[in-house]
Symmetry: C2
Subunit: 242 residues, 2 copies
DNA sequence: CATAATATGTGGTATATACCAGTTTTGGCT
DNA sequence: AGCCAAAACTGGTATATACCACATATTATG
């Protein structure tokens, strides 16, 4: 299969991957320590870490700060184009969701928000910052910017559940058009810290800009995900004929 | 700004980032060699490579095998939900596209394709493998699986241009429904080699499953992108009122 | 028995060094 | 000029080692 002169760290990567797939079915299982792996495979920690970095990039293992390496759980399937709440998604797929509202306040729209939303600069905007968990793992932080025009009093509501459920059931708001932006990046200071990973960890950025039936700005959502925590599934166009 | 005990490789990362942003506007510019950076910043190559890996993860620089590190061009904006050709996208954004058809053949649908498309296993399917460039940089490889039912003779056409243009203009086919899947992964042997990067390099996977007005399978597209080469922009729902 | 101090284990950061495998440049030759 | 071999240069891989910061387990102490 592989040439005999395959680099040590790739051999190690493949052996670890096979070991993870064969022996160990459960997620969140802890790998042997780097030192132990180095000894067991008769190499050095530096080389072991090269192999681990490969598996991390592939989303098969993740690190918990100074505690060790763990097998990554299955990716969460996620459709950012539908207004179904995170909690429901996670529950439907057999996991336990958790949401923490880190802050919520009324702010004045900064220039960049004005540019993408069409709001006047300095106009009042609700800002909600939340952290979401799948089981015990923090997988994303979310920045919400909401037009208070049609949902005054939103900040008094419980924002640990679905904001879209509030929009629908309490304020009668329905998004008509959404623009999604998705790209990979390295997580920086605030988001990386909030997710308990180191600066520079691989992340996926999802931005969702929603307008209502009249074409007025409803909400801007900026989500910073761990890159290995999700698989985006979007349906576009009419559903198929039966 | 940063504490005085910030690790060397992060200081170096930030200095390089600042240098890239300030001094150097042009993309594809080559960075000094690792050894020169190590000397200039009075550290070792290992530490320099940590800093470079951070900038690579952030998509600001990329490596060309044993030739050096280069400043990453702007990301291509890409909407996989529209049937507009790659060549047009790239041209519209001021770059020069190029497409190579690596192979095209009639194959029998394997089990996995049957599972997602609804075709019978073993049914004939066109398979087209292409590599696409933005300017001189190979940014993705694309695996197309096309239902020959409504477009026989497709393989005789020139597949270096848009397949969707062929569908539209020559066969009168229009996709009605699409399912997109997007997630990050590490590029493996065949795709990494085709893109001239090393195995394990960060990539973005985009899968597009298209059905026509009658709900019959049209095409499955599997795209493997360099993670830093694109920004996905998808519009969902009716356009805004004027 | 609960709590605090301590020891141990873990990944995180860093230096110094060496050789390998390709790429690019150089320099000599025709 | 054009060609080709040799040299220089680049990132890729690898060993050996050391210390740090934080997490957890262990032990001493009230």
């Amino acid at each position: 299969m592989s040439r005999p002169d395959t680099p040590v760290y790739l051999q190690l990567r493949d052996r670890l991957r096979a070991w993870i797939e064969a022996e160990n079915l459960s997620s969140q299982h802890r790998l042997p320590s780097e030192r132990e792996l180095a000894q067991r495979f008769n190499t050095t920690r530096v080389t072991v870490r090269q192999a681990l970095a490969q598996l991390e990039a592939d989303g098969r293992i993740f690190r918990s700060n100074r505690r060790g390496w763990y097998v990554t759980p299955e990716r969460l399937r996620y459709d950012p184009s539908r207004d179904v709440g995170f909690n429901q998604y996670v529950t439907d797929q057999g996991y336990t969701p958790r949401t923490e509202t880190l802050s919520k306040q009324l702010i004045e729209a900064p220039a960049w928000l004005s540019a993408v939303s069409g709001l006047e600069q300095g106009a009042p905007v609700y800002q909600i910052l939340r952290r979401r968990y799948v089981d015990t793992r923090a997988v994303l932080v979310e920045h919400n910017y909401i037009n208070p025009a049609h949902c005054s009093g939103l900040l008094s509501e419980n924002t640990d559940a679905s904001i879209w459920a509030l929009f629908r059931d309490r304020f009668g708001l329905h998004p008509q058009h959404r623009q999604l932006e998705i790209y990979s990046l390295a997580l920086k200071q605030p988001e990386a810290d909030a997710l308990g990973v180191s600066h520079g960890a691989a992340g996926l950025y999802i931005q969702r800009l929603s307008h209502d039936q009249q074409g007025t700005f409803l909400e801007l959502d900026r989500e910073y995900w761990l890159h290995d925590a999700l698989k985006i599934v979007v349906n576009v166009g009419e559903p198929m004929a039966p």
